[in-house]
């Protein structure tokens, strides 16, 4: 018995503080959200349990179908851009462009938006698509004698998908690039000699080698897209008329604009459940793939 205690003493001392931190910052918010979701907490901060009232309200909310549709479109298309554009950039900078200086420069350029504050990045998009003739796009259009357009007003979903897609691609690009670079050069030589064209090299050599990073990036981006809304908030603020409102942003709006904390928490809880289900589905996919064939480079 004593030896068991001795064996665990050091790890407990070392890990203890972190476990407390993890508990404080990871679990407590989830539990709090869970509790708040069943209350009617508002700006006055007094609250009572109201059983499933928040959820009843949510599912009978007249905007909810639009918001769910937006969320689905936003996550799906942005995810596609994130992953496939990231993959394209990675292929361009590692497989097609062999000169390391060029590809490094190229990758750095794509990293730039990640390094700039979101407000500035959002501002750029707003400026570019500004409906007045001072917007960059409309300025260009006026050079050709075309009338100004208000794309943010008419196609808000398109704009927020593009804005998030472009900035999110750098994450996949970095991960995929390093995975591609770890493939032994001889494999490419062998494929060249065997007469494999580019698409076959990508399909038969690169893709199997980066399958795990690919899955990881997909899952990671999916989760962050479900829960993040800062660029939407900054560019369209969900408008016009909820046309680009997504679930995460709706939760924010309800909690911090209408001060319906309880309702906002209920929306968040639904989001958590959706995220969990998505993770489980992807996880299952991973496992199945794993059984079909392990990918290994050696």
């Amino acid at each position: 018995m004593k030896t068991v205690i001795n064996k665990w003493k050091l790890p407990a001392v070392m890990l203890g503080p972190f476990l407390i931190l993890i508990f404080l910052f990871f679990f407590v918010p989830v539990i709090l959200t869970g509790i708040l979701a069943f209350t009617n907490m508002d700006s006055a901060m007094n609250w009572e349990f109201n059983r499933l009232l928040n959820f009843e309200k949510l599912f009978s909310d007249p905007d909810i179908s639009l918001i769910l549709r937006n969320t689905l479109l936003y996550v799906l298309f942005t995810l596609c851009i994130n992953v496939f554009f990231g993959l394209t950039l990675a292929l361009l900078t590692t497989y097609f462009m062999k000169k390391e200086q060029f590809s490094l420069l190229f990758r750095t350029i794509w990293m730039l938006p990640r390094m700039t504050p979101p407000v500035i990045y959002a501002l750029l998009w707003i400026w570019f698509f500004d409906p007045s003739e001072y917007g960059l796009l409309n300025g260009i259009r006026s050079l050709f004698g075309l009338p100004p357009v208000n794309i943010i007003g008419t196609e808000p979903m398109l704009i927020i998908i593009l804005a998030n897609g472009v900035i999110g691609a750098s994450f996949g690009m970095i991960i995929f690039s390093s995975a591609i670079k770890s493939i032994p050069e001889d494999l490419f030589y062998a494929a060249n000699i065997d007469g494999a064209p580019h698409w076959s090299i990508i399909k038969d050599i690169i893709m199997p080698a980066i399958r795990w990073p690919f899955m990881f990036v997909t899952l990671w981006q999916l989760l962050s897209l479900l829960t993040s809304y800062e660029y939407i908030l900054l560019i369209t603020n969900g408008g016009p008329l909820n046309e680009s409102e997504v679930l995460a942003l709706y939760s924010y709006h309800k909690a911090f604009q209408s001060f319906e904390f309880g309702y906002g928490a209920a929306i968040s809880l639904v989001l958590v459940v959706i995220a969990l289900v998505c993770t489980l589905i992807l996880w299952k996919l991973f496992k199945v793939k794993d059984m079909i064939g392990p990918s290994r480079i050696d």
């Binding site: 032994p184 001889d186 494999l187 030589y189 062998a190 494929a191 060249n192 000699i193 065997d194 007469g195 494999a196 064209p197 076959s200 038969d204 050599i205 199997p208 080698a209 064939g293 392990p294 990918s295 290994r296 480079i297 050696d298």
Partner: protein
């Protein structure tokens, strides 16, 4: 397929030439070994022949046709890489069938031919394994099958046996030799194992620092090395080398003089030379004309015989003795060698002084062998 390299130069950093003005002609159906120490440019040469690297200067001809700008896939070559380079997620069968798939061979024929190639290297029972589930030797055989499956006109083998144990290596050697004879493919084999090169190749190109030092049959490399570098590289244990000086048709070493065969060597009075004697050519006792008296420094038993390390003129020479040879360390030993069995090299240039040897062009080997 006849392969010709003309004045090939390759540089990676624009400062030094990894391959320096290389000329090499390989006849149709010939088995040639590229032999040389690590880093001398063997793989680089092969990758240029494969079309993966482009030479900075010079031309490569296949059957008289210039192929400098021909894509690797159009060169009708098969290659086994130093690292095998098997496609890790494909089964053995799919690995072997991959080149055929790229040639759009119909699926049925493709799989048949792949199986046939697998049988040829005795892999028929492992077709559904992944490369990571195979031993090193099996992986190498998969690589070999993949290289021959499309019936290439030129087979390039980059140290295909480097990672095998001794017995498997001998087995693979026989297999490669048999395959090459059976298929009659022009083959280039890279190795830094001279025994491998000697047993397999019709001709060996011995390389050093990006150049070919001598390109000849194994026997000629052994019996008539063109310079001291070849002499030292070929043969185990290596040739004994002793410095001396020509004095009127005779060789002087440390005040001793030895008769030299004027009909065999260019003998120039006063020239500094290197005398070379293979350990196998040295006889115990003063039975031959060129005689030495040495002190035994070390006696090594290698099973079927013993190697005597004897000190003569402050140099350590090696010679063979019978298995039952007995002697004290420090004892005197007499040995001798026939004039017909010795080699003489110019000390300054490293060139052989043999009369039949190609003479004239500047050699760069110098006293490389004498450190």
């Amino acid at each position: 397929m006849k392969v010709e390299l003309q004045n090939i130069t390759k540089s990676f950093d624009k400062k030094t030439n990894t391959i320096d003005n290389m000329n090499l002609t390989i006849e149709d159906g010939e088995f040639v070994a590229l032999l040389g120490p690590s880093g001398c440019g063997k793989t680089t040469t092969m990758l240029m022949i494969a079309g993966i690297y482009k030479p900075n200067e010079g031309a490569i001809y296949f059957d008289g046709e210039k192929v400098n700008d021909l894509e690797p896939k159009d060169r009708e070559i098969g290659m086994v890489f130093q690292s095998y380079a098997l496609y890790p997620h494909m089964t053995v069968l799919n690995n072997i069938a991959f080149p055929l798939k790229q040639q759009k061979v119909p699926k049925k024929e493709r799989l048949e031919r792949a199986k046939e190639a697998a049988e040829m290297v005795q892999l028929g029972h492992l077709l559904n394994r992944k490369p990571s589930e195979l031993s090193g030797g099996q992986q190498q055989r998969v690589a070999l099958a993949r290289a021959i499956v499309k019936r290439p006109k030129l087979l390039l083998l980059d140290e295909p046996m480097s990672n095998l144990d001794a017995s498997l290596r001998i087995e693979m050697r026989a297999e490669i030799s048999r395959l090459q004879k059976k298929l009659g493919i022009t083959t280039i084999l890279i190795t830094h194992d001279q025994e491998e090169a000697m047993t397999l190749a019709d001709r060996i190109a011995l390389m050093k620092d990006g150049r070919i030092v001598q390109f000849d049959t194994p026997m000629n490399l052994y019996n008539e090395p063109d310079n001291v570098y070849v002499a030292k590289f070929i043969g185990t244990p290596p040739m004994n080398l002793v410095e001396g000086k020509i004095m009127y048709n005779k060789l002087q070493i440390d005040k001793q003089t030895y008769p030299m065969d004027k009909s065999r060597f260019h003998l120039e009075h006063g020239k500094e030379v290197i005398l070379g004697m293979r350990p196998y050519d040295i006889q115990l006792g003063w039975t031959e004309e060129i005689r030495f008296l040495g002190k035994i420094e070390l006696l090594e038993s290698i099973g079927h015989s013993k190697i005597i390390h004897a000190n003569v003129f402050g140099k350590r020479l090696q010679l063979f003795a019978k298995q039952d040879f007995q002697a004290e360390i420090g004892a005197e030993v007499r040995f001798s060698v026939q004039p017909a069995a010795i080699h003489l090299f110019d000390k300054k240039t490293g060139k052989s002084l043999r009369k039949a040897a190609p003479y004239g062009d500047e050699m760069f080997v110098k006293d490389a062998a004498l450190q």
